[in-house]
Subunit: 478 residues, 4 copies
């Protein structure tokens, strides 16, 4: 048997390939398939089965595309993950493929259709080797339970608790655990930063095992993870089995500076350089999202009907940037700035810049500098924040900009912070677009602040978070 | 200005990219565009113009596809290369792009629409820097003149002679020469094995300059280069501007041995390993075409309505093999043998093998071994052949197999030879399919034979070449 | 924490990198370090600790070289793995590195100094996450116990049994198992073909757990794995901490055919092409070892004072071939045949070839063909062999060639077989060097033979294996 | 024949490989040889001859190293390029290698030992195909003539003029021109930005042909190209045939932030990020040299006895950065900041930053901002500068810092400019180290300034350049 985890950075996704006697089984493939085909090619594998654990909300599935290219059969649980499953397995059903036995285990809670797959060998059928749990059980964490219906978060938490205790735990301590996501995923709050674990090891520290069911429900209610707007689109696509990656990654036009300027007027510009470089100089009106942040924050910024234009640190990043966006369903990139910001700068086109500030400087500043913290609310409350800092989650800023301006007039000297400075750079770029003049990105963010042991406040802020001041309108923010 | 030659091995094709101030000009692009986009990306170039020298017969153009992806303008001469030129240049017309001046020079003879492009700089407009001659003038050679109409070979040779003497020669000795093909192309008989030359250097040894016009016509009449059957298809495609490369190179299914066997029954199998490996063991009925030989000999073997199945030396060769075939318009590869011949062999499926023989052994053999020489007729006559060798060009073998069998019954001990053994391996595989039992591939072929200074005969054979015995039917062989 | 297994094909070796807060810990590094540095570079890791499980016999360690380049500390058990350990851990000792706790567990049996390392996290110290077992416990297998002293195989098997039951088993079912070797290693008889397991899963099928201690000892006595001659050299090198990879992989001269011929006269030639290609044509006197077989069989063929010359399927294989050899301490490659066998063949230099035969042909042959089976004795006996087949392990052939000739005169029609044909090709090349004239490589070997369900005999042969006929001399064959 | 130009970016160097029948000839190899070996490997070439045109001052030769690895013969002119030539060719001497004829032409002027090599084919010996001119004749330029002795610039210019007119010009218009450097080299003032030319094309515009000898001498006297301090070291090394590349590119330690901080105290830090990123945040005291600028400006900053520490935009740039430095003889890089500036920033270590300013902002500024122009003196005078700008060449800044401070006190608001902002960033980092507080990097530099058609002054400044105020001491600045 051959076995390979193929990770997708940015969305922190794990697909898995199992192969026995040249027959390949892939679990939860993303839509850009090259890396899977590459592994298949190197190992002489004929991909023949696609196992789906659940619908996925944070990336577009490649099931349909892969089926069309290879003739593979799509396998799902009893409740439809998507419309096009070839094999639907009831809870407990077995699928035998050469020396492997795959058992479906219905494990709802994260989503109602979630299914896990337990794999054993025919010559040792009583003992499960590994279980593929999708978003039910992660390393050190469980899947969020607020997605199907925010108001049923507790109810779904209880269902998830039961799924894991009744279906996964009995497999035994020795069983290898292979979930669909790792650390950094928006599908779970606090996934461990390593990828290897077992049910028995989880039993010693994962809250789903160390808490009682009631405690676990309370814990899940406290999670309050932002729900990116692109989740809706992806769920719809994935119900159809996902979508083929539409893009020839290399053929997006490289636009010369003047042409880029002209075209981008009718679209959005995302600048993928790091915060220091963005602060040192950038195109007025552009959004700052570092390259690896695209598959999460690109989805907060992109609009379905507006073409996207990208600034890359290096032209060679083109494929990576396009993949990052395509994986969350954003395919409307229409141009890349040829030669990057360097070309723009040398072409004497308009440039904007703002300041950076170090934690020490902020702390010792004699002039008053307000602080806006754009992390998630739980980071702000549980990990602590700067005294008097205002809070608004970066993703919710655009919808609440008038609330922000009411509290912090656009001529306020304003230091923006997050954990290290990436999200703060995005927030700063949004504020700049809305007229803020005296912005500082706090370099190193709260990570550096903490390292320096500067004063910290924990718990709820006395102030109402800015992103909750006005009444939520069409999009159900938290 | 940036300048880059991008070679396509197998078809020995040269495309060229010129770029000035980020504006890219590409000359004669092939249909698989990745390498061009890659260069554009690395150099921050926006591809904007596609210059076509002529229709091309030996590879599918990428003009149309490139235009669609980049919005480039297609430039051609006065006579339509294809239906979709955006700019048609009369003889002598100038096109100015930033600091470059491009002049069109009508240079018919290889084909009637052939045009060359002379490039100079605006600050030195009287002096041409380089000329892109398409298939008119190669390094050390000229384009073949038998393609538009075999019966007008002489007439077209005279036209070509005039084109070069009247349009190219006056540009001056100092002008750099950039043709569309290098050594190994089927578009010219004997192109030099280096790529760099000037008009002045050609003047010292290229036959179009060292021969008189009459001598040149006689020389061209003697060329007798085979005309592969796929030329017709390509000309038709290229009249439409070529075709986008249709293939996701990595997604052709890797078929396990038994599935490969079942599927391949309704198609053709091409084995791309080297002659020794093919002799040592191969799938019965498969064709032997070494990897780099695919873009020429694949076109002699492939049939439009039969799916192709490939045996690769290494799975990693998949992309290269598919590109080689796609470049000559063959897109119907339906499967690759997963794990290659090794997997087939270990699966105990049927195997065929034949012998190899060294020149020394053949010369010293005490039993009678007939010799079949499958090189081109001019190689056979001009470079010399083994005494009593029969001749039939490898590409014409299938159409003349009954003539071959009449002369050489299928139980003849038969050594097959070409220049080193590649084409002989293909011929041997064809003979095997037609019942020949006692075949040897002469390892090293006539190259090794000559190195050993074994006896050689030059000039016409006393025997009629086997591929000319029966009346030519639908396909106009030489 | 970051965690990465880095496999070395050919020797089926696993090194592991753990990293916490940028501090890297590497377990059992090989001497060519590029891949480790590459991972460190991509992940911003400063390699700081080198954990050694034991001395290793089958590959040269990189500990010393890595220490010199990075200033890392070498960690070993109480008994000296090598002379240069910076930290020697007693059984049960703890080493804390940021959030990790590493506990040394003395697990002798494979070798007396063998130590395993159990890793846990400071915030969950009671529960071990994973154990690195070196060659004590593999997936589905245990380390061979005949290496320190063949006569103490049983005694060491008992020690190993106790080590695993007393030190590894108590860690708990949930613990991840990371051994130093995977399937194909010469350090264990029958390692599973997957890499992921846990102590609990092993408990359900690994013989060290399913057999009683006495049964286990008998089982280990039956293993009879060949002991390659290069083990001695490697043990000596590794006692010094191994050796830096001495080779600039790309600078070994590519010798033109005639120069290769002249130079190779005073050395040994290894041809790394596949068996079919070798049969179809090869340099007289060369050894046939397929590329991936070099790190095992290269060690049976190479001689310390004779330069090696290589024939590669492709020039691009140079680095891989040199690495394969260097990893087992063979650094005296002095030339590569430029252009491979193709160049030699076209240069008309002497060529040898032999026949191949398929199982069906062998079975149906009307002329008598003897069979020589060159697999390991346990493959021959336990998996079955062809009726009347002679047996001699490929590695022992050269030392027993006179015994072979006595039994099978050099004009015998002789089919050579192994599992698929690779080792048979090496054996055939050895026999050829000793005057055998009528050799066949049985394509597909016993694998194909079995697939076709041709007649098979199991158990001891009536005949004494050829490699045990004469009295063993200086080298203690089994 | 095979022919390949291998460019070295940064130093704008061309090496060339010629190969005939597998015998390789390399011209002017650099010390890091991988790319040459790679080409040799792909093309089955045995490198056998090393042709040296002259000693080279701007990069370390690889002749000696290559000779030792391959046994190649070193070829040079009559006057010793280095101590270890195997073949010394008198002016006009011929060297025949298979079908090639190589003629040595003594072409002094750039340096006294300079030799060019004219290549022709045996079957057309009267006509030279190409000439390799080293630093005598470039595309559109000639080699600088001030190197051997600044006071003999005119004399050497006259010698160079004669060399080219007497030795190169007579070869004929048709001859291909292959010099040792392209655009961007410090060995010539204004080399064309394309690489392909002929003697005949040069004749139409290269000043060595369009000027009279006297005019040419005046022209060369005007060049005033800076002479980097590392030239001396390189000349010494190259007299010994250069030096092997000493570095395993991947094994330089990646130092974690605190360790980097501690170690770098006794050395120099070079930050290779782009100017905007450096302005946005950097390590106090570090030098700003963009990656591609290392092989020129690294040599102005590095000190022989001080270890170097690097900040890279990406860890993956390590090899490129080390190669850039090694090529000019700087081998003492002792550490790379693991994780780059991001890691430093997040570790809350000290950070410095300064402002950027756009040309428009500078022009419209209401507060007074002084301007320091750090381009070469000819750029400043001939291309024009901002009114009242002070001038000091970036390379000479450290030696003249007291002059600068005298003229521009350290609290001056000071915008630093060059052509686009790279050299200005280096100058700014130098000024910062010397106490300047109010610095701006003028983004886009004079390129953007000119594009905006902002006011420009040409010719000599009224002020004495700052780098010429104090008396030149030990190092003979211009």
């Amino acid at each position: 048997m051959k076995f390979k985890r193929i990770k997708t950075p940015g969305i922190a996704h794990n697909a898995y390939i199992l192969a026995t006697k040249g027959i390949g089984i892939i679990i939860d493939p993303r839509r850009d398939l090259d890396e899977y085909f590459d592994y298949a090619k190197k190992n002489a594998i004929n991909i023949s089965y696609i196992l789906q654990t659940h619908r996925q909300e944070d990336f577009v599935l490649g099931s349909k595309a892969l089926k069309e290219l290879t003739g593979s059969l799509i396998v799902a649980g009893e409740n439809p993950v998507s419309v096009n499953a070839d094999i639907q397995m009831k809870d407990g059903d077995l699928l035998e493929i050469e020396e492997l036995i795959i058992q479906a285990l219905h494990t709802p809670g994260h989503t109602p259709e979630s299914v896990s797959y337990a794999v054993s060998f025919k010559d040792n059928p009583e003992n499960v080797w590994a279980v593929f749990t999708g978003d039910a059980l992660f390393i050190g964490e469980t899947g969020r339970t607020d997605l199907p219906d925010k108001n049923k978060t507790a109810e779904n938490a209880a269902i998830l608790y039961d799924s894991i205790h009744e279906k996964i735990l009995p497999l035994g301590d020795h069983v290898l655990l292979y979930p669909a996501h790792g650390a950094g995923s928006v599908c779970g709050g606090n996934i461990a930063d390593y990828d290897e674990s077992t049910i028995g090891f989880e039993r010693t520290y994962n809250k789903v095992f160390t808490l009682s069911k009631d405690e676990f429900v309370v814990h899940k209610l406290h999670e309050r993870i932002p729900r990116p707007p692109y989740f809706k689109l992806i769920e719809k696509l994935n119900f159809e089995g996902g979508a083929a990656a539409p893009i020839n990654w290399d053929s997006i036009p490289l636009l010369l500076s003047k042409e880029f300027e002209a075209n981008a007027k009718s679209g959005l510009i995302i600048d993928t350089r790091l915060p220091e470089a963005f602060a040192g100089g950038h195109i007025p009106g552009s959004y700052s999202i570092w390259l690896e942040g695209l598959p999460v924050f690109g989805g907060w910024v992109a609009e379905e009907n507006k073409p996207l234009y990208l600034i890359l640190e290096r032209n060679e990043d083109m494929k990576k940037a396009l993949q990052h966006l395509a994986r969350i369903g954003i395919d409307n990139v229409k141009g890349i700035l040829a030669g990057g910001f360097e070309a723009w700068r040398d072409a004497a086109l308009p440039i904007d810049m703002f300041d950076t500030i170090s934690p020490q400087e902020l702390q010792e500043s004699t002039t008053e500098i307000s602080v806006l913290d754009v992390r998630e609310i739980t980071e702000f409350e549980d990990e602590g924040h700067i005294h008097n800092a205002e809070h608004a989650y970066v993703g919710y800023l655009p919808d609440h900009i008038s609330d922000v301006i009411r509290e912090l007039p656009t001529d306020t000297k304003l230091a923006v912070t997050c954990s290290v400075g990436h999200r703060a750079s995005l927030a700063t770029s949004m504020l700049r677009q809305n007229g803020f003049k005296n912005l500082f990105n706090l370099l190193g963010g709260m990570t550096a602040w903490n390292t320096l042991k500067l004063p910290l406040e924990k718990g709820k802020s006395e102030k109402t978070p800015l992103d909750q001041i006005s009444i939520e309108k069409d999009f159900p923010h938290q």
